[in-house]
């Protein structure tokens, strides 16, 4: 299975994503520089975390307009799986591949800590390695992770089962106290209509190695391999 990681000026979790992908697929992914003319043919594309273009206008806004993203959008529309993590999620919303926006955290502060997530479904490309309803522990590290969309879209997302993860307590309670950033409906991750595109604020690649204190993030990567191999 072949994976590609897109690298923008200012990406900084590209290596971390590559390490996790290599652990899952057994081969190092292609690292694709945003200015590279060609995006190689791959089975999955990862848009990693970081601060593309410094996140200076809006998080992810400038990266979303880079030429390589035009190609990523085209591939995604043709069915290639695309996983956006943190800044990658922000980029995907700015391209319109996923609805809504990630606004400034309600505390207005950057927040880096482990959070608990409720896995909503276990029948998707990305989550078949988890049990639906299970609670996993994965870190977040962002200043703009406050998911917002209008009521109508929110209702549609809920109705279509497109929420991937919700912030919850260690016991699995989804409530405001467990919401680190103010996201509507505690949304931490979201699928596109076909379930082939996933955007999520937490960083599964940071807890996919026992030496780092946990492996709850690893099934995201192994699920993809499981499904696509």
């Amino acid at each position: 299975m072949k994976a590609a990681v897109i690298v923008f000026p200012g990406s900084n979790c590209d290596r971390d994503a590559a390490v996790a992908l290599e652990a899952a697929t057994g081969a190092p992914p292609a690292m694709v520089w945003h200015g590279d003319a060609e995006l190689p043919k791959t089975d999955v594309i990862v848009v990693p975390g970081g601060f593309s273009y410094g996140d200076y206008l809006r998080s992810g806004a400038m990266a979303a307009h880079s030429p390589v993203m035009r190609e990523v959008v085209a591939r995604a529309k043709a069915g290639t799986p695309v996983l956006g993590i943190c800044n990658g999620f922000q980029v995907l919303t700015e391209t319109g591949l996923l609805p809504g926006v990630l606004m400034r955290n309600r505390s207005l502060r950057f927040i880096c800590k482990d959070v608990h997530l409720k896995v909503e479904r276990d029948d998707t490309l990305y989550t078949n390695g988890y049990a639906a309803g299970s609670v996993i522990r994965i870190p977040v590290a962002h200043k703009d992770g406050n998911y917002f969309t209008d009521d109508e879209t929110l209702a549609r997302l809920e109705g279509e089962g497109r929420i991937a993860f919700r912030y919850c307590s260690a016991e699995g309670t989804v409530d405001d106290a467990a919401n680190p950033n103010g996201s509507r409906n505690n949304i931490a991750g979201l699928y596109n209509e076909s379930g082939t595109v996933l955007g999520m604020m937490p960083h599964p690649e940071r807890l996919a190695d026992p030496a780092l204190g946990g492996t709850d993030g690893a099934p995201i990567f192994s699920s993809i391999v499981e499904r696509l191999q």
């Binding site: 200012g10 200015g35 410094g54 502060r109």
Partner: protein
């Protein structure tokens, strides 16, 4: 390009006021006249003034810094380069340094702290290393002071935003509140990088006729010294007074980092130096001086952000995110290609020469023509008068009243500014990016795995300013010892330190006395612990209206954990026996309990016995590596009871304490005797541990067992862990949110 016309004359001569505004004394100016045999131009005056400033020349501190131990088998590069380098084995090395950004952070906390972080990272990647960990040591004024909250908020978000954007984890630091910093906060930032030991880059520009290349951001009128003068001289009367604050651009710095590392993989660079304080001036002078060559710059080629910048302004600008390089002949195209790829400015702005002169041309004129020897080594060196400080009396247990309840006092202390959790700070720092952080903030040392290996790099920042205020010699010793102890508690072999010497005005003999004492104390501890100084920074004149900060010799240490499978950590499990290693004598002078009980810090700080320190640390490291102990924490601020409480909170388990001691209970539990650790062992291995301690000559005393969900001391009602955790965790967030709606 060489020699050329004599430097242009400054019209009308330089007034004494102008000279004074450049921070030059009359004697120093006379020395310039003598060296040049003529009056300097304005640009030359600016260049000499920054090169002879305390910041660049270390003129008050140099003779003392030279006395510090800087060598050891592990040292690859000691002080003198942009950062120190120590050997990690397997062909790898760690590059690290700490630096202050105190004054700018007081003026504009967000940008001041951010650019401090940017500057220290440049020092590290200039040497070819990829930064892998940041730390920050912060001293704020009293929580009651009107500006403190604003300063904490700005400094922390500035540090966070810069490091987070760079993608370098900030894995720890330290934070103090003390009214003596009300008017002069301290922001000291440390960076650690990783490099292949045979790919270390230095700054010397060896070779004549080589291209001098400018890369990074454009130059603006940021942070130009003597800005009051500059605005009077150069500005239209109508123009607003120019701000001297530098704004950080972490995105550009990230590009600069990647571009530099990419170029460093090629065979293109002779020497490289970041443009930090005194920008283009100090970087070019240092490169030429170290390479033993002359240098000639043509400022017409300097990428400028603003119109009509003068030579004076370009030479003194402190615009951030810039580097100067001397390339191998013919390497320009490859370098240019890389910097263009990363969308950074690239310009050949000069050439190395064999004239030994520093020549600056602009608009067809020679703006400066100075002998390099006068700029670097020719800077004045002062042996300033220093007055010793009388030693303070030892405080005994009788001098400090006992509390009604030890656990009650504990809870109050842990719910206050000195001991409360710093989580509010470190959760604003990305401490996990790079996916190698194996010990996050909150413990004794932060630890990052050496990427791709099972080795760990442990890092800690330490100094206890109240000890230094009482006795700078013992305080500096203690800072080194505590840093060594924190690394040890993580299971690391301490390798070397960097320091940041923050003091008041060296022109006052009592302050100079503190400085001298601190250097001596630091040197003594470094020697005894084989923990040499490989880099550092001095920040003087931290005073307002004649009131100086307490002497603050901050120490940043790096240690190596051979295998992260054997790392020390402080969370205790249930069912463990707790033992304190090292001798408890009940030292209450300058202790947090003393202040809690009496409202003041007085008397002599706890002394450090370096031999005992070494024995206890070596034992602890061995116990960690053999797996004898399941948890370790050093005893520092607040004493034994605080150390145990921190371990209990980390492990989410209660403890029941009792100890046989002839000391008064408050002296035993709150005394801040040095050289101690609390360790947890399986009850079945307690005997083994006590025997090993005895044969190592380290006092060991069992003080209790873990279990339950409260702290318990005989004769007192239990203190539930939940309540303790709330007071401990809530103080800082509550403090920071007070004053908001």
């Amino acid at each position: 390009m060489s020699g050329g016309a004599p430097a242009k004359k400054s019209e009308g001569g330089l007034s004494p006021a102008l000279i004074a505004e450049h921070g030059l004394s009359q004697d120093e100016y006379a020395r310039i006249l003598e060296t040049l045999g003529r009056e300097p131009t304005l640009t030359e005056l600016g260049i000499v003034s920054v090169m002879w400033s305390e910041h660049c020349s270390y003129k008050s501190s140099r003779i003392w810094l030279k006395t510090l131990p800087t060598e050891g088998p592990q040292v690859i590069e000691g002080p003198g380069e942009n950062a120190g380098v120590v050997d990690l084995g397997d062909g790898q090395a760690a590059v690290f340094k700490m630096e202050s950004h105190n004054h700018p952070s007081y003026i504009e906390p967000y940008q001041g702290a951010a650019t401090g972080v940017g500057g220290i990272m440049r020092d590290v990647f200039t040497m070819g290393a990829r930064p892998v960990a940041n730390m920050n040591a912060l001293r704020f004024g009293s929580p009651e002071h009107a500006k403190t909250r604003h300063l904490v908020s700005g400094v922390v978000s500035g540090i966070g935003d810069y490091g987070n954007c760079m993608g370098v984890p900030t894995i720890g630091g330290e934070t103090n509140f003390d009214s003596r910093y009300d008017g002069n906060i301290l922001v000291n930032a440390m960076c650690v990088g990783l490099v292949d030991a045979n790919r270390i880059f230095k700054s010397a520009a060896r070779g004549v006729g080589l291209p001098v290349v400018y890369v990074g951001s454009k130059t603006g009128r940021d942070g130009i010294h003597g800005a009051t003068m500059a605005s009077a001289e150069f500005d239209d009367a109508s123009e607003e007074k120019r701000p001297t604050v530098q704004v950080g651009d972490p995105f550009t710095e990230k590009l600069l980092l990647e571009a530099c590392l990419e170029l460093m993989a090629e065979d293109a660079i002779v020497g490289i130096q970041d443009m930090g304080a005194a920008g283009l001036t100090s970087s070019s002078v240092e490169m030429a001086d170290k390479g033993g060559v002359g240098i000639e710059l043509n400022l017409d080629h300097v990428p400028c952000r603003e119109e009509a910048m003068t030579a004076y302004e370009m030479m003194l600008s402190e615009s951030q995110e810039r580097m100067l390089m001397v390339l191998k002949p013919g390497a320009e195209p490859i370098a240019e290609k890389i910097f263009k790829k990363w969308e950074l400015d690239f310009a050949v702005i000069g050439i190395t020469t064999d004239t030994g002169r520093f020549i600056i041309k602009h608009d067809g004129e020679v703006e400066a023509d100075l002998p390099l020897s006068a700029l670097a080594d020719g800077a004045p060196i002062y042996e300033r008068p220093h007055a010793p400080k009388p030693k303070l009396a030892t405080v005994t247990a009788d001098d400090v009243p006992a509390p009604n309840s030890l656990l009650g006092a504990l809870q109050e202390m842990m719910g206050g500014p000195h001991l409360c959790s710093r989580r509010w700070i470190w959760e604003q720092y990305d401490h996990m990016v790079m996916a190698d952080t194996v010990a996050r903030p909150g413990g004794d040392a932060g630890v990052v795995r050496v990427h791709g290996t099972s080795k760990g790099l442990a890092v800690s920042c330490d100094v206890t300013p109240r000890y230094c205020a009482g006795d700078a010699f013992e305080g500096a010793k203690q800072a080194v010892a505590e840093c060594w102890r924190n690394l040890t508690a993580a299971g690391a072999d301490p390798l070397a330190i960097t320091d940041c010497m923050n003091f008041g005005s060296p022109e006052r003999p009592e302050i100079m006395g503190e400085f001298v004492d601190a250097v001596k104390g630091m040197g003594e501890a470094c020697t005894a612990l084989s923990f040499p100084v490989v880099s550092g920074n001095v920040s003087l004149y931290n005073e307002t209206n004649g009131t100086a900060i307490p002497p603050t010799p901050a120490v940043g240490g790096v240690g190596l954990i051979p295998d992260i499978a054997h790392m020390g950590q402080m969370a205790i499990a249930e069912g463990q026996a707790l033992v304190v290693l090292g001798e408890t004598k009940g030292a209450l002078g300058m202790s947090l309990y003393q202040e809690h009980a009496t409202g003041a810090f007085t008397g002599a700080p706890p002394p450090v016995d370096l031999e005992c320190e070494k024995r206890a640390g070596d034992l602890v490291r061995d116990l960690i590596r053999k797996g004898t102990v399941s948890a370790v924490h050093d005893v520092s601020d607040g004493g034994l009871l605080v150390a145990v409480a921190e371990m209990a909170l980390a492990g989410k388990t209660g403890v029941t304490l009792q100890a046989e001691t002839p000391l008064a209970p408050h002296a035993f539990w709150f005394g801040e005797d040095q050289g101690r650790y609390v360790v947890a062992v399986e009850a079945s291995r307690l005997r083994e541990l006590l025997l090993q301690a005895a044969s190592s000559g380290v006092p060991a005393l069992a003080i209790g067992t873990s279990g339950g969900d409260a702290l318990q001391l005989e004769g007192e009602p239990p203190l539930p862990l939940g309540g303790l955790r709330s007071t401990y965790e809530e103080w800082l967030p509550d403090y920071m949110s007070a004053g908001r709606g």
